[in-house]
């Protein structure tokens, strides 16, 4: 045996003799028991909920099946709701063209909202259905619009120069339209 091997054996002997001493054995015991107790308590709470819901089923595999089915149904329900909400949000964001007007779903104006709802339904020109209430609403909004611009019309009629100027502008606009 050479000196290196002897050294190795001495070191190994020293390490074998010096077995590590666990000083905090009681402390570890306490900690382990505490962790296990806490985990058991958590488990009991979740199993208590399951017992409350499915405690009336005594056959193990039937109970497991019911739990699985209920989880699948809940997931399907949540998914369906999410899809519906997404579609509604998309519809709200859409812009709708009515002749020369652009009405968006975000408009707070009640009349605009009415037109939006009215035009939102993709009806064929031949079979548009409008209720009496909707006709009344159209008339009401027309009257409001007329009232709003009554003063403006009066002002234009009183001032011949202004009237002439507006007429010229209208003719110009019409010409442009024809050119286009």
């Amino acid at each position: 045996m050479n000196s290196d091997e002897a050294k190795y054996d001495r070191v190994l002997d020293l390490l074998r003799k010096s077995r590590p001493v666990l000083d905090s054995k009681e402390e570890i015991e306490e900690k382990v028991i505490r962790i296990i107790t806490q985990k058991q308590e958590k488990k009991e709470i979740s199993s208590g909920v399951l017992d409350f819901l499915f405690g009336w089923v005594y056959v193990g595999w039937v109970r497991t099946g019911l739990v699985a089915a209920s989880v699948i149904l809940i997931i399907a329900f949540v998914y369906q709701q999410a899809v519906i909400i997404k579609r509604i949000n998309n519809l709200n964001r859409q812009a709708i063209y009515i002749e020369s007007q652009i009405i968006t779903g975000r408009s707070l104006d009640s009349d605009a909202g009415y037109f939006y709802r009215l035009a939102g339904r993709k009806l064929q020109s031949g079979d548009k259905m409008i209720s009496e209430k909707q006709v009344k609403q159209v008339i009401k909004s027309y009257n409001e619009l007329e009232k709003k611009y009554k003063d403006l019309i009066k002002l234009i009629e009183d001032d011949p120069e202004l009237m002439k100027y507006i007429e010229e502008k209208l003719i110009e606009n019409n010409k442009k339209k024809f050119k286009l």
Partner: protein
């Protein structure tokens, strides 16, 4: 070491018996973890985690022998995880007073026992360049004095692999001893 009746009681969910089991087995688990990691606090954490795992999976145990091997297997695997996580590759530099104590121990005939701190320093110095597998084989075969078969069952390595890893570990440790001691 362990009474099978205690294991049976633990399987039924008896916590006071499990406390006894922890008391009896923790020193063995600590010894392996300490020698693998060279760190007392980390070894204590590994023992704690091992005991919780044992409680959770104790239903799988069929015999006392099986339990011992299973215990060591859990400890070794947790030590692997810890060593991979830490990846301590930097060279170990023993502080002078620490090293003087270790040299003093080696100069005595017969060699005297060391304290945990000194043992940790010596193990860290000798094994820092070994891979986790080589460390495990060295600790189980040379320090815990297990047979190749036992080490093979615990580590999941083939006997030929155990021999190869052990040979390499001994060679590197010999180099370290020649260099430092």
């Amino acid at each position: 070491m362990i009474d099978f009746e205690i294991i049976e009681e633990c399987r039924k969910g008896n916590l006071s018996n499990f406390r006894k089991l922890v008391g009896e087995t923790a020193p063995y688990a600590f010894s392996v973890a300490f020698r693998m990691l060279g760190d007392e606090a980390l070894a204590e954490d590994i023992v704690q985690e091992t005991m919780v795992t044992i409680w959770q999976k104790i239903g799988r145990i069929r015999s006392v022998d099986g339990f011992k091997k299973w215990l060591y297997k859990i400890v070794i695997n947790k030590c692997y995880d810890e060593l991979r996580r830490k990846k301590r590759i930097q060279e170990y530099n023993p502080s002078d007073p620490e090293w003087a104590v270790i040299s003093n121990h080696l100069s005595h005939e017969p060699v005297a026992e060391m304290e945990n701190r000194e043992t940790a320093a010596l193990i860290s110095l000798l094994t820092y360049c070994l891979s986790p597998r080589q460390k495990a084989v060295f600790v189980l075969c040379d320090l815990e004095e297990m047979t190749l078969d036992e080490a093979s069952e615990i580590t999941g390595m083939r006997k030929a692999n155990i021999k190869a890893n052990l040979h390499y570990a001994r060679k590197r440790i010999n180099e370290m001893i020649t260099k430092y001691i």
